[in-house]
Amino acid sequence: MTGDVFDPEQLSRCISCGFCLPACPTYAMTGDEASSPRGRITLMRALQDGTLPPDDGTLAEQSSFCLGCRACEPVCPAGVEYGSLLEQWRVHQWRGWRRPLVARALMLLVEQRWLLRLSGLVRRAARGRAVTPQAGPTRAAAPAPAAAPGAAAAGGPGAQLMLGCVERGLFPAVSRGAHALAPELAVPTAQGCCGALHAHNGDLAGGERLAERLGADLPGTIVTTSGGCAAHLAAVLGRDRVRELSTWLADRPAGAELRVGGRRARVALQDSCHLRNGLGVFAEPRTLLRQVADYVELPSAAACCGAAGTYSLLRPKESRRILDAKLDEIEAAGVDLVVAVNPGCLRQLRTGLRRRRSPVRAVHLAELLTRVEPPPRPA
């Protein structure tokens, strides 16, 4: 008897109806029950009641093959919270040395606040000058992008912009864009990581601890430009404390239209899995985009792009397979830009498109709305 890995009440909710099968990208890849949500829940049950040994190979394989995209959640009529079952599973599966090295290294890294701050500063120094508003009409309502989101802005009682540990290192322009769009947000630089990375990689307690610490760093409403962080923070701090940028901007006046080569730009959106499936947010970013450009709905916009937190690092082969189908679709849609609302997806799409030398660019919603030019592509 292992017995205590899962919350038994959550585990018993699944009635094995199989309604989640068609939504699952890993099941689509294999057609194998073991890599479906229902099959994985059956495996979890076997682990819980001891009919499979804790070191069983399929348990290890399936807990890591799962993207954690939670596409199985909104389609489950029985209300199974698969995402949290997966987190509990990984606590067990990836305890101690079993946790993949890459995940361990990343988790250590993002916990170092001084490093976070430093990485942000270094990137800013390097890129600060290169970032220019794109030619053409800029969003009328938005002020010029703040040079450096540093001191807390005045006004907007209690709402603060979260900088994000990955984002401030890789995509400083995103926070800058967000601040330009919502200057009422305070931007304290002394803020840590939200802990989503920990929660998804087998350290639930660590994930909660970090989220709570961030909650203390940023009292009041936390506005984030990352769907993944939003879902994790909401799970720990409560939904009322957390807003993803698109919902924060939702009822503002539209900006001027975005034009490419003398015509209205064609843009598509890639949903953030956790934002869509965890928090049910998908209409707001679309509404914002429709106001400034011709919006094209990708047939699989709601399906994972394969970034899935650390997945692209831990399972590069599967991640690439999922991404390739997505990129085919993006190219076939004939869009100028594909928009992400999560840094992981942004990185995944940008890398993939660059590798293909595609003319399509991937930008974050905040970048697009402020017309901040994305980093130049290699020739």
């Binding site: 009635i15 094995s16 109806c17 199989g18 309604f19 057609g31 029950e33 190979g57 348990l59 489950c76």
Partner: protein
């Protein structure tokens, strides 16, 4: 019974090493289907790619006396794909091509692993209708749909799957490949093996290709909802609708518990205070649909409906149907285990049957919610228990269902209208068919499957 190394090696030789799984965890995943309380691990899971591989696997199984359980999506509710005697689970999801859709001949040719919804979409793209419409259509495969002779939400007007199967390619347990029926509407040469295999629940042959009849897609469709104080009132409304000479495509009812559960999932704004809900729908020329919905609405009001509305847009109608399709899993929000059963009575006796179900539930002290395809007398009494670990409660539920099946037969009905017999209802089959017919079933079974390897413990056992 573990498979010998020789058998495993032969299997790997047939389908390729990566398409035979025998690790403990992989077997656990295939130990069950959508049926609660049944579970048994196979010894190997095999994923063939085509008819030839299926034939080779079956010939091998007969030679070595290894049980084989064909499996589509495993969404059946009668433990039909639980490998009770171990052996091989033969998963047919890799045979997933739609081979042909012909608008001229009004038919499609498809492999068995295609989902029912995918076939319906392919048909719709050519202006055609794939009529069978089980609640599980997005998951269930065409092979499973044919093998269980599934019904669904359009059953009243369109009947069950059997009416739409023109021909099959199937592999016998001994490895021969047969082709029954074909592309013709009129073809009466020989015994009707197409019908025999339809609904045979994977006990006679493995279906590897199906030619199915499609219909011209109806020009329009619409749906409405009526709320009643009690389930009996809804039953009365059904009787009045039929008496009014209207045979709608859809006539589904939910009791109070089901309405609440569906509303919790789908958030459609259903009236949770009503005692029962009747979901009705029809398809055809727009003015005919409107006229029918009107007459159904009137019949409902006469039967005591407190509110009748029709869907204002297609999206809303589809949302209503989708919500009804997931009534079963939604009900499980109410408790730990949800056991759904399937019994059919002649239409005029629905209200009586509902009363009997209530009495049975009270007698055995179990909670039973009921929903179903009211139009064709097909009811799904569903028992929600707190936990599978409460063995006493499970026993009470089982006793209650035994009484419910007896009541159905007593009222001139049957023990299953669409889900099939599987392992779960095998003990009740004799009561429905009688011993002589059962004996004939067994003789038919042994003619197809002399070694008794195909889905043992189910029909024909």
């Amino acid at each position: 019974m573990a498979l010998s190394a020789t058998v495993l090696a032969e299997l790997r030789g047939i389908v390729g090493p990566s398409h035979v799984h025998d690790a403990a965890g992989d077997l656990v995943a295939y130990a069950r289907d959508a049926t609660p309380l049944f579970s048994h691990r196979p010894d190997a899971v095999v994923f063939p790619a085509d008819t030839a591989e299926v034939a080779a696997v079956l010939a091998l199984a007969t030679r070595h006396r290894v049980p084989v359980v064909p499996r589509g999506a495993g969404s059946n509710l009668c433990a039909a794909t639980v490998p009770l005697r171990g052996g091989i689970v033969l998963v047919l999801t890799r045979l997933n091509a739609i081979l042909e859709v012909s608008a001229d001949e009004l038919l499609a040719r498809t492999q068995p692993g295609v989902t029912s919804a995918a076939l319906a979409d392919a048909a719709a793209a050519r202006g055609l209708l794939w009529a069978p419409d089980p609640g599980s259509r997005t998951v269930a495969t065409v092979g499973g749909t044919i093998a269980t002779c599934a019904g669904g939400l359009r059953g009243l007007k369109y009947g069950v799957t059997r009416n739409y199967v023109l021909g099959l390619e199937a592999v016998l347990p001994t490895g021969e490949v047969i082709r029954t029926g074909g592309r013709l509407w009129k073809d009466v040469a020989g015994y009707d093996l197409t019908r025999l295999l339809t609904g045979s629940e994977g006990t006679l042959a493995v279906i590897t290709e199906a030619t199915v009849a499609l219909l011209p897609a109806p020009a329009s469709a619409n749906t409405g909802v009526a709320y009643f104080p009690t389930l009996a009132d809804a039953g009365e409304a059904v009787a009045r609708v039929i008496r009014a000479g209207v045979v709608p495509a859809t006539l589904e009812f939910l009791d109070r518990a089901c309405i609440g559960a569906v509303e919790d999932f789908a958030h459609l704004g259903l009236r949770a205070d009503a005692g029962a809900l009747l979901l009705f729908g029809d398809d055809g020329p727009p003015d005919l649909v409107a006229a029918h919905l009107d007459r159904i609405g009137t019949a409902c009001v006469e039967a005591g409906a407190v509110e009748v509305t029709t869907a204002r847009e297609v999206a809303q109608a589809e949302a209503l149907l989708a919500a009804r399709r997931c009534a079963l899993p939604a009900l499980s929000r109410r408790g730990g285990v949800t056991i759904l059963e399937d019994a059919t009575v002649p239409r005029p006796r629905i209200a009586e049957m509902v009363d009997r179900i209530d009495a049975v539930a009270a007698r055995h002290d179990v909670a039973i919610a009921t929903f179903g395809h009211a139009g064709d007398g097909n009811l799904h009494p569903t028992c929600v228990l707190d936990s599978a670990e409460d063995h006493e409660a499970v026993r009470r539920a089982e006793a209650a269902f035994a009484d419910i099946f007896a009541a159905a037969i007593d009222l001139g009905g049957t023990i299953t209208g669409e889900h099939g017999v599987g392992a779960a209802k095998l003990p009740f089959l004799a009561a429905r068919l009688g011993e002589d017919q059962l004996a004939l079933l067994r003789r038919i079974k042994s003619a197809f499957d002399p070694a008794g390897v195909l889905n043992p413990g189910k029909l024909g056992s």
